[in-house]
């Protein structure tokens, strides 16, 4: 069967509050830490939704829109850069699973 790319997979996810232009991020990342002291920048590959990316200069960037609330980055980051909360039901993003 056809293998899906990650964007295709994330396209199947039902995110909350998609109509809202402004959402309150439930995860805050201090990318200063990622880009100064972190030896591995592991969130850029272990995150199952690729919310963490590296640009051409190797700098880490984070976006919360695609987050599927799995929790991986909260454990994987051992540098203290990730502040992780659950999304606010009204003004946050996060998921509603159709199957789960």
């Amino acid at each position: 069967m056809k293998l899906l790319s990650l964007p295709e997979r994330l396209g199947l996810v039902s995110y909350r509050n998609q109509a809202k232009s402004e959402i309150k991020p439930h995860i805050v990342v201090d990318t200063e830490i990622c880009n100064s002291v972190c030896p591995h920048k592991c969130t850029t590959y272990v995150c199952p939704a690729n919310c963490y990316t590296k640009d051409e200069q190797g700098q880490v960037h984070f976006q919360v829109e695609d987050c599927i609330e799995c929790g991986t980055c909260m454990y994987a980051c051992d540098q203290g850069a990730v502040s992780w909360e659950f999304p606010d039901p009204e003004i946050g993003r996060g998921v509603t699973w159709n199957f789960g």
Binding site: M1, P48, Y75, A76, P89, V95, G100
Partner: protein, 441 residues
């Protein structure tokens, strides 16, 4: 709300719902708070709910035409993989065909919602039909503490008071950390990232492909090539007209080997044996979730404090000891035991630390902690690279030779095995694993 509840439960997953059912049946006044749009909306599992506790919670659940569960398991398979081959231990028996079943496959968005409806029925039949609530779409921000005792919760800026709090918030247990029962930072060492796809088929195709009859189902676990060198394993479960297929990947190992979970999932799906198994379907959901490994070192040492207990995955009650990945059944049993401790505390008007300790004592004497304690060596063994790498390669190498008919003189199986061991491991590896295995299992 000025009213005080007997108990506030945080989280409408399997643990929270089992606790709520038990409280409702015992005429307790409680509030069950869930952050998702509905119970199950944010919950992900593999997943098989093992054992028969569900029948205690919802008697004759199998008679419910549109029950929340998908299929009962009467067919188990454990598969060792290398890059080309799959060598399986396969067991199917009509012994498992009779209700109450010993394992049902569930999809949590559907199952938890169904179970919540059953809890609501129990609330309606209780003395507090108008005073106990299941409240979805509310995020609990913190547990309220007074003099070291839990007295309620804060959510959406409002405070709700209760004699007791049951934390059933799941593996990402932020409130368990807030009250100090879990470290603020939990390292990756004993955590795994699960990734999963739901693939849909024509139901007839699915039933024919997996030899399903009526609502029978199959569970298949995988070790070896499935995880592309990362510690962990794969799974495939049959639902009504979909399959759940995925991987659980040791997070520390994933970090060290610099691999992406979704890439490994595609490699797994591309494996010739898996590709044949899943061909033709349509992916309808991709999900991911953290699970704990069952290693006791990650678990909170204490699951109680004055006025509060922790159950389910919030207490890291999950284990894969090689036979099955158990978590939801532990959640269910721990939720029931937690609620029973609260019922006793209410009768005695005593929600002290000593009263809450009864929960952990009872849990300690139940199969949940007995199994977790007894099978720690098996958990360690399963995370040994010899088990996840060398063994599957060795087994598949042997299989390839054993099942090859070449019109040449055939070597004895013993010699084939010796060759396979030489190519993939050593007798020393096997002796160590054998000794560990004999002790562990």
């Amino acid at each position: 709300m000025d009213e005080k509840f007997d108990c506030i439960i945080v989280g409408a997953g399997v643990a929270g719902l089992a606790a709520a059912m038990t409280l409702a049946r015992n005429n307790m006044k409680f509030l069950l708070i869930e952050k998702g749009e509905f119970p199950g909306a944010k919950n992900v599992s593999g997943g098989v709910l093992w054992g028969s506790d569900l029948a205690k919670l919802v008697p004759n659940y199998w008679e419910d035409e549109d029950g929340g569960w998908d299929r009962f398991i009467n067919h188990r398979r454990l598969t060792f993989m290398d890059d080309q081959s799959a060598f399986s231990v396969d067991f199917k028996s009509s012994h498992f065909n009779e209700a109450p079943y010993t394992g049902v496959v569930v999809l949590r968005s559907k199952f938890d919602r169904w179970l919540a409806d059953k809890v609501q029925e129990a609330i309606d039949a209780s003395d507090y039909a108008m005073d106990s609530f299941i409240a979805p779409n509310i995020l609990v921000e913190e547990v309220l503490l007074e003099d070291g005792k839990a007295v309620g919760i804060k959510a959406g800026g409002d405070e709700f008071y209760s004699d007791s709090v049951i934390l059933a918030e799941g593996v990402n247990n932020l409130l368990t950390r807030q009250v100090g029962l879990q470290d603020k930072y939990v390292p990756a060492d004993h955590m795994l990232t699960g990734v999963k796809e739901i693939i849909r088929y024509d139901q007839k195709v699915l039933e024919d492909r997996f030899q399903l009859n009526g609502l029978s189902g199959m569970s298949n676990e995988f070790v070896g090539y499935a995880t592309n060198g990362v510690e962990g394993g794969g799974f495939l479960y049959t639902n009504r007209d979909t399959i759940s297929i995925g991987l659980v990947l040791g997070l520390k190992d994933l970090r060290e080997k610099e691999q992406k979970p979704y890439d490994i999932l595609n490699e797994f799906k591309k494996h010739p044996v898996i590709a044949d198994t899943i061909r033709g379907g349509e992916v309808v959901e991709y999900s991911a979730h953290i699970v704990s490994s069952g290693d006791k070192r990650v678990m909170p040492k204490k699951l109680y404090m004055p006025g509060l207990v922790v159950c389910g995955e919030a207490a890291n009650l999950l284990m894969n000891a090689g036979k099955a990945i158990q978590g939801m059944d532990y959640a269910m049993r721990s939720g029931i035991i937690a609620a029973e401790a609260i019922v006793d505390a209410k009768k005695a008007s005593d929600f002290s630390e000593q009263a809450m300790k009864k929960y952990q004592d009872t849990l300690g004497n139940s199969y949940v902690m007995k199994d977790i304690n007894n099978f720690q060596d098996a958990v360690h063994l399963l995370h040994d690279p010899v088990m996840t790498q060398k063994m599957p390669n060795l087994i598949c190498d042997f299989g390839r030779n054993f099942f090859s008919i070449k019109n040449e003189p055939t070597p004895k199986s013993r010699d084939m095995l010796r060759g396979a061991i030489k190519r993939h491991a050593s007798y020393w590896d096997l002796m160590k694993i054998g000794a560990k295995g004999a002790k562990a299992l």
